[in-house]
């Protein structure tokens, strides 16, 4: 689906989405349509339960007196509640309703609204962003899908009084859309297609955008002593990989980078501690953290962010086999610390242990943020609305919480402390890889913290938010890419040279 901005003029054909404020108040274009159609919009609103409240919609088919095929009214709520999030709900809802309606062209009308919290250009840019995000579809394997089941919409024009300003505001967001789409693709792909080497190959493509990509294989990792990561992958025929991506956005050689680290278990069968069969197919997205980190790099490089960023993803496949790691095995991590592997299905933290250590050891970053679909416990804890945030640093936590709210990828901070750390004591090694059911996400975070030295660090447990079972305004059901927008905004707001 292509998207573009045009100066506002009354659309003559195709489908049109127009906003309406709470209290059945049409915006300017809506009023004009209403006048041209002899009051059809007003009559339709009165005849229905559409009041202009947030997310309400009303579809008018082939209204007489105008050339357009359909007019979709979308509730914007109250004028003073119109912010970027409202614009995104508007744009996303428009595409959700119009994509499959049959029209190839649609106009999303962004009338200026007095009293709104954002200006018309920002509104239009965010509506366009959401339209693109919501139009995402992973349909490459649907070889027999009927034409009428495929979205017909090919071209969307976003109409606004401030088309040039909107296009400028949208340009960096377009890069974010590309990053999100890349992440969603990686996460949606099945594990026979995306495995450590192919995921590494996808990351290599970022070189086209100026990202420096380096891939370490098992031999190199063995040399570095990454026994924790390698132990997880040793049951699989697929070779484990560690991908290092560097984006030097400041052009300076000597600056201290910020770092993102992702868990990339391309398929997690659980290993010898094998999972029950029901829903095991979901474990193709146990590389969600790595997927987000790769997509984030694409977004940052795509919009030429003025920041120096290093990203590291640990890629493995966790399989049971004659060479697999056994419960009870003791492995030595790159840090030198030993780990008793009680449960081979608590493997993400083993991968991250070495990836985190490697990142801080080699790059001495300002901070590290890791992302991982790490624990089932976080789903019991926070459901599918919030990612769990664990951190040793208040400032970083507060920034993450604030930008999360802004972009609709909220995080909720969880506690850490010695009392929890004690739960991963092992009788024969420096630590064990599980701490029991109680506070299961916290003990996982404590485990990770043992591989973080004295630098600001945050861990995002995204197990509950990586895959959505339902459509939302900006995300069709499936892979969400939760984290790409969050971290892109974190970088933009706090770590970029202006």
């Amino acid at each position: 689906m292509k998207i573009g901005f045009s100066q506002l003029a009354l659309p003559e054909d195709g489908a049109v989405a127009v906003g309406a404020l709470e209290g059945r108040v049409l915006t300017a274009t809506g009023r004009e349509f209403d006048a041209r159609t002899g009051g059809a919009l007003t009559r339709a609103m009165t005849a229905s339960r559409f009041e202009g409240k947030k997310d309400q919609t009303l579809m008018l088919l082939a209204p007489s007196g105008v050339g357009v095929a359909r007019i979709l009214l979308i509730g914007l709520g109250k004028a003073d509640g119109i912010d970027a999030a409202a614009a995104e709900r508007f744009g996303g809802t428009a595409v959700a309703q119009l994509a499959g309606a049959g029209d190839e062209q649609a106009a999303i009308v962004c009338d200026a609204v007095d009293g709104a919290k954002i200006d018309a250009a920002a509104f239009a840019a965010h509506a366009a962003l959401a339209a693109r995000l919501r139009a995402y579809r992973f349909d490459k394997y649907l070889t027999k899908e009927k034409k009428e089941d495929k979205p017909a919409l090919k071209k969307v024009r976003v109409l606004t009084d401030a088309a040039d300003a909107a296009a400028r505001a949208y340009a960096p967001l377009e890069a974010v859309v590309e990053g999100v789409a890349m992440t969603r693709d990686l996460v949606s792909e099945p594990a026979n297609v995306i495995y450590p080497e192919t995921l590494a190959n996808e990351a290599r493509k970022l070189a086209d955008l100026g990202v420096e990509v380096e891939v370490l294989g098992e031999k190199q990792m063995r040399k570095l002593g990454m026994g924790a990561l390698l132990g997880v992958g040793q049951g699989s025929e697929r070779e484990s990989q560690l991908v290092v991506m560097r984006w030097n956005g400041t052009g300076r050689e000597d600056s201290q980078p910020i770092a993102f680290v992702g868990k990339g278990v391309c398929f997690d069968s659980g290993g010898i501690s094998i999972k029950p069969s029901a829903n095991m197919e979901d474990m193709k997205w146990d590389m969600g953290g790595a997927g987000v980190v790769v997509g984030l790099m694409r977004a940052l490089a795509g919009r030429k962010a003025k920041a120096d960023v290093v990203a590291v993803v640990g890629l493995v496949e966790n399989m049971p086999s004659g060479t697999a790691q056994r419960p009870g095995d003791v492995v030595t991590s790159m840090s030198g610390q030993t780990i008793e592997v009680i449960n081979t299905d608590a493997e993400g933290r083993l991968v991250l242990a070495d990836a985190l250590w490697y990142t801080q050891d080699r790059f001495k970053p300002k901070f590290m943020i890791d992302l991982a679909t790490l624990t089932g416990a976080i789903i019991i804890s926070l459901g599918t609305e919030y990612a769990g945030l664990f951190s040793n640093n208040d400032e970083l936590s507060e920034r993450l919480a604030a930008v999360g709210k802004d972009v609709g990828e909220p995080v909720w901070r969880m506690p850490m402390g010695d009392a929890y750390d004690k739960l991963i004591k092992s009788d024969i090694a420096d630590m064990k890889n599980v701490g029991g059911r109680d506070g299961g996400s916290i003990t996982a975070a404590q485990f990770l913290q043992r591989f973080v030295n004295d630098l600001p660090w945050a861990h995002l447990d995204i197990a509950g938010v990586t895959w959505s079972k339902k459509d939302t305004a900006t995300t069709p059901k499936g892979a969400t890419a939760f984290g790409v927008r969050l971290l892109d905004r974190l970088v933009a707001d706090h770590y970029e040279e202006k």
Partner: protein, 483 residues
Amino acid sequence: MRVAFSAAPPVDAPAVAVGVWQGGRAEPAFQRLDGDGALSRAVAAGRFEGREGQLLTVFAPPGLAAGRVVIVGLGAEGEMTPQRAERLGGALAAELLCSGVTALSVAFDLGPLAAHVAVGLRLRAWRPPAELRGRPDPEDAPTLAEATLAGGDAAAAAYRRLDGIVDSVLFCRDLVVAPGNLLTPATFAEHALQSRQDGVAVEVLEGARLEREGLGLLCAVGRGSAQAPRLVVARWLGGAAGTAPWVFVGKGITFDSGGISIKHGEHVHEMKGDMGGAAAALGALRALALQHAPVNAVAVLALAENMPSGNALRPGDVIRAYDGQTVEVVDTDAEGRLVLADAVAWSCATLRPRAVIDLATLTGAVVVTLGRHHAGLFSADEPLAKALLGAGAAVGEPLWRLPLSESHDEALKSDIADMRNCAWGRAPDALHAARFLQRFVPDGVPWAHLDIAGVADATEAHPLGPKGPTGFGVRLLETLVRG
């Protein structure tokens, strides 16, 4: 255990405690008793560094009348806090409770903070009521009966208020540890009635009265048991007449079998403690009464036993709550939120509360979420939430805030009633339960919900108590109200 304070506690007691700060500096009592250096030599020989809570016992030290001297690591010098003082007392109690020693002299002088050493001693020395044992094992019987602590009048004055608080924590623990055959809604109500002697006004709603009041959810949960449910309303009105009271609502399922959605496994017996919220609410009220606190507070206890029977609540039943909303009960083992919903709504409607705080051993999910070191705090009222967090931190009963969100209404949608009581599957049940309760709180009433399922019972001994009930919530609420 009896505790007393003295300017000069006896040094010929069966056990005398002296202190060493971290880094090795001995406090004055140690120096006084060191005589020919027996204590110093023990410290030098024993890998003793004065770390907080480190203990070293010297038996029958030459030249001293004491049976033993216990050298206590006091931790970093100049940073003594009430909580640390309590942990030191706890460490001493753990060491000496069953040691044969009957009396302890705490010779190290922490000034007024000695009051907190006494608190720690008493809390850590708690045992389940002796009547539960037919033939106590003499080896295991507590011997330590009295403690005299340095600190003099200042400590004694500081302790006066704390004494009733400790009594109330222990009272709460006694209730929680009592098995379901001894502690029923009826006997729990009797325990509450006994606090009339402390000036608490107690009212018990039961039988037809409960039905007439419209507490449909409480009645429904209790229906399967031969032990009828009750709503206990205990009032401490020490403040100005007419001042809006603090209201503590407690979940009091005296035994939770799960009902028709019956529980299974090795932990069901622990469900005798599913009244921990009610015990804490009553304990906190008692703590206020014992110190004649100039405040108004009400404890509302929703008491019922959840049992399967021919008359029990069934999965699928639709019940009308006190406030008129209807609930489809899809799981009879999600009963705590039902009795609380009625008690909270009833309290809001009839007590004109300043704030309502409910406490409940509500969900297993909160244990998965926070483990056993924080209780879950849910509140939409910022000042109340902040005050609770502060009170919890001050008394070592830490809370962690968790999100309250309307988004869970979707998971709680029922096909035939206003809501269902829980969702199935891998769901954030603690969040669902909190949102469920919130729907019974009228707008404008400051309300907080504490899910104490992870902290009401300790799975192992800790500085202020043995394995078993902690009394979590009593000190927290007392501190909240007293500021």
